[in-house]
Symmetry: C2
Subunit: 124 residues, 2 copies
DNA sequence: AAACTGTATTAGAATCTATAGTACAGTATG
DNA sequence: CATACTGTACTATAGATTCTAATACAGTTT
């Protein structure tokens, strides 16, 4: 559970949230599965319960979790979440494409080169 | 010169820097052209000379400018800058591709959809 | 009843951003 | 040479954000 990267400039609660997003979207965590309690996870990560609570609140706001007072936080169904995430990624991609076009470069060419490099990395 | 967007969460010095990066890379500003002095630009943008200075220092560190004490800041040749920026964009694209692949989605499909949307936006 | 859950509130430390004033060094121009 | 312009450096302050910490309260489980 090596969640926190102190070289990462993002705040801890955001690192926790994005890690759980991935675990939920990829199905590593199943719908209705219970997440660690805020206190337990805080212990594990050597951070503060409030920091974990902030991450969980964020995940609840974005539809990744539902929380029941006294019982815990639980994973939501992920079918619609994947569509939601896909839209988010498409939005990011669009912004990147626009930045590329603004400089008079060819998005397709740059994408192809990047994809090749990404697949090279996988083979290593 | 509507540089600063106070709805943009990025710091002012970063907004200034990224605007000038674009002007330099797209050739709107020519090599060896003089940029406004830190004090003059600060007046224009109703901000502080130190904030402009921070942006200029950043641009110098990244190779967009060279600065001469007593004379001013000047645009560098942009041939190598474009290659440098291209690498940077390719890196960003690679990270996005990896994020997409981590979720088991198809990068090419998502890219094509985003490109279409970007071109629709252009037509409006 | 005891031990666990989530949630809310308040306070303080640390960091980042921006502003402000001042000072010094080099250049351009009269 | 004098003045006004340039860049650069330093210190101080204020505000916002992030994180930690302590505490309290509410609900659930056993």
């Amino acid at each position: 559970m090596d969640f926190i990267d102190y070289l990462d400039s993002r705040p801890i609660y955001e690192q926790i949230a994005s890690r759980y997003k991935q675990l939920i979207l990829t199905g590593v965590l199943s719908p209705n599965e219970k997440l660690p309690s805020v206190r337990k996870l805080a212990m594990e990560l050597s951070t503060n319960p409030n920091t974990v609570q902030k991450a969980y609140a964020m995940l609840e706001r974005e539809g990744y979790l539902y929380s029941v007072k006294g019982r815990g936080n639980f994973v939501r169904e992920n079918d619609s979440l994947i569509d939601q995430k896909k839209d988010e990624l498409k939005g990011k991609m669009k912004e990147l494409i626009k930045e590329i076009q603004d400089l008079g470069l060819d998005p397709q060419e740059l994408f192809t080169a990047a994809l090749e490099e990404a697949e090279e990395d996988d083979r290593d």
